[in-house]
Symmetry: C2
Subunit: 757 residues, 2 copies
Amino acid sequence: MIGKSIPRVDAYEKVTGRAKFTDDMAPSNCLIAKVYHATIGNGIVKSIDTTEAEALPGVVKVVTFKDVPDHCYPTPGHPWSVELAHQDVADRNILTGRVRYYGDDIAAVVAEDEVIASRALKLIKVEYEEYPVEIHPRKSMCGSQHPIHLDKKDNVLARSNYFIGNVEQGLKDSHTVVKRSFKTPIVQHCHIENPISYAYMEKGRIVIVTSTQIPHIVRRVVGQALGIPWGKVRVIKPYIGGGFGNKQDVLYEPLNAFLTTLVGGRPVKLDISREETFCNTRTRHSIEYDLTAGVDAEGHLLAKEMFAVSNQGAYASHGHAIAANGLTAWRLQYACPNIKGEAYTVYTNTPVAGAMRAYGIPQAAFAIECFMDDIAKEIHMDPLEFRKKNLIQGYYEDAYLKPIAANTNGIFECLKKGAQHIHWEEKRKKYAEQTGDVRRGVGMSLFSYKTGVWPISLEIAGARLVLNQDGSMQLSIGATEIGQGADTVFSQMAAETLHMDVEDIHIQTVQDTDITPFDTGAYASRQSFVTGTAVKKCAELMRRKILDYAQTLLEGEERTLTLDHGWILADGQQVLSLEELAMESYYSLTNSSAITAEVSTQVKKNTLATGCCFVEVEVDLKLGKIKILDIINVHDSGKLLNPQLARMQVEGGMSMGMGYGLSEQLLLDEKTGRPLNGTLLDYKMMTTMDTPDLNVDFVELEDPMGPYGNKALGEPPAIPAAPAIRNAVLHATGVAFYENPLTPQRLIAGFKEAGLI
Amino acid sequence: MIGKSIPRVDAYEKVTGRAKFTDDMAPSNCLIAKVYHATIGNGIVKSIDTTEAEALPGVVKVVTFKDVPDHCYPTPGHPWSVELAHQDVADRNILTGRVRYYGDDIAAVVAEDEVIASRALKLIKVEYEEYPVEIHPRKSMCGSQHPIHLDKKDNVLARSNYFIGNVEQGLKDSHTVVKRSFKTPIVQHCHIENPISYAYMEKGRIVIVTSTQIPHIVRRVVGQALGIPWGKVRVIKPYIGGGFGNKQDVLYEPLNAFLTTLVGGRPVKLDISREETFCNTRTRHSIEYDLTAGVDAEGHLLAKEMFAVSNQGAYASHGHAIAANGLTAWRLQYACPNIKGEAYTVYTNTPVAGAMRAYGIPQAAFAIECFMDDIAKEIHMDPLEFRKKNLIQGYYEDAYLKPIAANTNGIFECLKKGAQHIHWEEKRKKYAEQTGDVRRGVGMSLFSYKTGVWPISLEIAGARLVLNQDGSMQLSIGATEIGQGADTVFSQMAAETLHMDVEDIHIQTVQDTDITPFDTGAYASRQSFVTGTAVKKCAELMRRKILDYAQTLLEGEERTLTLDHGWILADGQQVLSLEELAMESYYSLTNSSAITAEVSTQVKKNTLATGCCFVEVEVDLKLGKIKILDIINVHDSGKLLNPQLARMQVEGGMSMGMGYGLSEQLLLDEKTGRPLNGTLLDYKMMTTMDTPDLNVDFVELEDPMGPYGNKALGEPPAIPAAPAIRNAVLHATGVAFYENPLTPQRLIAGFKEAGLI
């Protein structure tokens, strides 16, 4: 079953609208909660008056920052650590009187319906004492009179660095030294379903049904936020309408949980708007990079240095892990004897940045891959040639983060396929000298990407299988289907190891922390690798239990028993159907015992996926418009579990990458930090009309680390398009841009400065 | 924790109305189904016209007997058997054109709402060919021109018998031979919540949420009824409002499942009325008994013979098992060298009889215990004395049904307590000679009762435990809380074996056949015995896993590790909290593995619970009224798991037993078999106004077979009140009645015949 393009197991449910999402499950008698957001960007609440709101008929409860537990908690969807040093930064209260960004959560209303809740919000009166707002991290890290968080006087959340060899000496020894600075924008995930949850109490415990990627982590964080034992919290995750990392953070679940405790455990729904999703959930970090590199006369990298400043926004969330991940990427791709990396993550008065698909690598890759083209240009070398000369060859093991390693490395094969598709050599020459207002160019970029979080953090996953009476199988996992097709590939995995038809694997799609095995959730492109390992081990255990039971049922000498599509084979001959065996296991008067298997497994390995993007663009200099004529992503993600689903993942990632390169950016008001375009009307995502035909290819090298030869594919597709487009524009026009997205305004300004128009 | 009267774990939810029952969970967009019932008592449908019903706006589907799968299926909630001979009788279709009783299911309507569905039913036109109706089994077993089921020409569903010694010789050798005939009425369970379910399709499978005692059996029977693999069916059981055995049958779930497949998998709700519950679900069998016994000059039983004819109604349901259970009871209580038993179960044109609390024993005990008083009277012996003389003493092992046995036998102690309470000797004498219209008497009866169904059928149960991060525990079982307090005592059991506080055991109350461990459900007073064994084994496995993990965490020499209320003790000293251990198991970077335990266990033992009822009555001869002045049930059910819950079980059973003795009977029209009083207005249950103070006592002998020394308590309390009341009336008036309930009509007739009025 592995490697087959079977249809998604949830396709019919989703296409017919029958799949149940959080709002479909909410009871009709739910109370409605709404959040009162600050209308300043920095300061404190001097006074708050909720009298009128409370007096409004239909208002059940008004709660302010004064009422919430007064300890802080962390929100990122990381596995917890029993070691203090590895625990996430706890800097958030459920509600706050210290406003740190425009829209911060000050109070909340619980009412009988939406209209009353909205009206009540307008009756709350707040007086503020305002502080100056700072939205730029390089300024914020100089410190301020009122630090955003008291324990960080310089507003620096964290700083990290590393040194390999001697960069200063390497630069001195270089034939050419290149320095460039890059900046990436704030973008938002724009998943279809806004974060939504409802919570109620049952037997003295809090139940939260929520659209999340990380139910078991939500349980833990709600426990931490409310200061109650984690076992008193139950989290249920239905189908979800996308997450892309935004739902790898604990968002309003602690507030929702707290609110139900205030209304005697009645169900309370907290369904935030798209505008709140833009402003009050999480964004992708804007990061500024200063890169320096030296190359010898043949174009070999001798030294390279990265300095990064990441804009965290008002709260830590995933914090420094994103900038640090970019620092790590700086050494995973290109061989170099002398490397230096340093990164700062800085609090500012902006919406909070957190996890987003590819976790800091789209930012780093934009800087690095644009930089590679700039170096190549500087030394008059073809940028593809320059990269191939410097790429790490064959097996790689990271010196800092063992056991991150790559046993298989398909990047050279990927580059070959990409170059062939785009007719690289021909077009690089053909477009070398163009005049006129409309010019064409080809560009490319590449990346490597880790599979899971080990050894930086814990990787643990669980799975449970139950043999049904008809020989079919129930599969439960704690890992989450978030639209990526996880349920389908886990079903394929179980079918593969049990030699069954995938139709006979019934996967439990709703995760429930009371019931489904422990797993930290969907992030870090980990599930098919880490949870896949648990599924495989569980299926192997189930197979052994089935064959052991078959042995007791079959008389005579011992033969080699195997499983084959609903049959037990003895020395290759069908001797007993799996259904007969299952019926005996349930109903035998002499020897009945329902057969189940469960494993919880820690995974202590990590491997690198790679890939590249090649693109051909047409640039209209005067209109400041880029038209993508052709684009291809080529990925080495090991063995493909389901080629059709893999292609879908890549296409979705390419769309996100093109948006990052061309149009997406969340603009903030300089004075308040308020989003200026935080709606789907004003925030420009790629639509189907903007999207060219998407070409996708793969290099399938089975990685011996992956449970089925597979490695990361969920996030990588979002990485390479933006720098490839920028490099293609450079090829077409000779103008290098240092900040994405390449909007018409930015292009026109650049072309004017270059004297092209 | 065992033996403590902790409050029910679901008390708060139920008292506050927050516990979710099936109807609370049904989605708001549910279609509504209603059943078209036959308006004749026997015959065939000649023609059916649904045109007008189908044309009614809002009607989504009309389905008739012509549309359903044409194979038959069984409905009783028995564990399935892989042996053909032990499988239940399959004599029912989802809908039928062969009407076998008044109200039989001919067609069904699915509509947008209740009103439309009801109106559509009235538009269906049916023409019948009518056959004569027979509601009496002794007549029906003579055969009929149109047998109720074609394969049973004489309408006898089944017959069984046994012989021990030589009854004919025994009777010849007897000093006194007594013969009597008895008859018990049809009664109905009258659980608060009528049977209700809703069904929908998900990923090509059918999901049924239903108020049932037996979710895993419903899954199987729906598979059988629809002719689909059982793994394609998922059954979810929320809280239920009582069942008493009616929901130990598969009622309308197959029809509901079938209907959703006809409307493209949209959710369809089938919520039947109280009138349908009386007529179209199940009842307690009416059984007629002819009893003969011979005693020697000292009053020892020398020979006894039971002949029983049980009225099955129109379909087999649990069928002959109920009459057979009464036959078995005939030998479990009173020692006798020569015993004979014979029973017939006969189809008639009446509502279908099935399982009801105590499964045939209230009927048999009514006959046997009234008979015991009659024999005692015949030989001028005190009836308690007569019983004590003949009761089996000490250890008992059944000759026919090994391993049914009693290691402990508290009946003599029970009798002592009961007699003391009622002042037996004093009042037997005091009331011996009375005149006047108002007379008093004391009576008693006793019983023994099996614990579970082994070895007649399979006993298997499963449990799963998960250690939470805070050291608390999730407990999942497939056994069902049906109002009896199962969730509470299972929580106590786990807490006992794990040395934990019961507050730290979080039990999963909703059973879901996709997820919760396999268990056949709530019946046969089996759960605390059979499922309790699984819970105990699972808790022992969990304890071993915890202590093994503790051993790896604790350095140094091996010490004796034990669990104690959230602590690991080493040689009795606290060395590690369970919370710390749990956190390590989830989050250790070196050695993490979430700790879970699951067992599925077959139980191959059975033990007898016993008990008795003593009652004092005042009889108003002219009014034909019985007033209960004092009543006590005394039970030997082994060690009590929760004395307060045990008392509640007994009080509920006593109420049911008094109704059986005094007022409850479902009357049928002779010509059609139609229920004459099938509503809660006309069917006379005991109300709180009718109920005297209830006295309950126990004899606690720990039974070595029970997992915690416990044995059956769920059903037995319903058994002894009715014959005790009848015997008290005999004592008060000298008039023996041979049919319950003792309604005013029946009493007046009896007293007139006896010349008392």
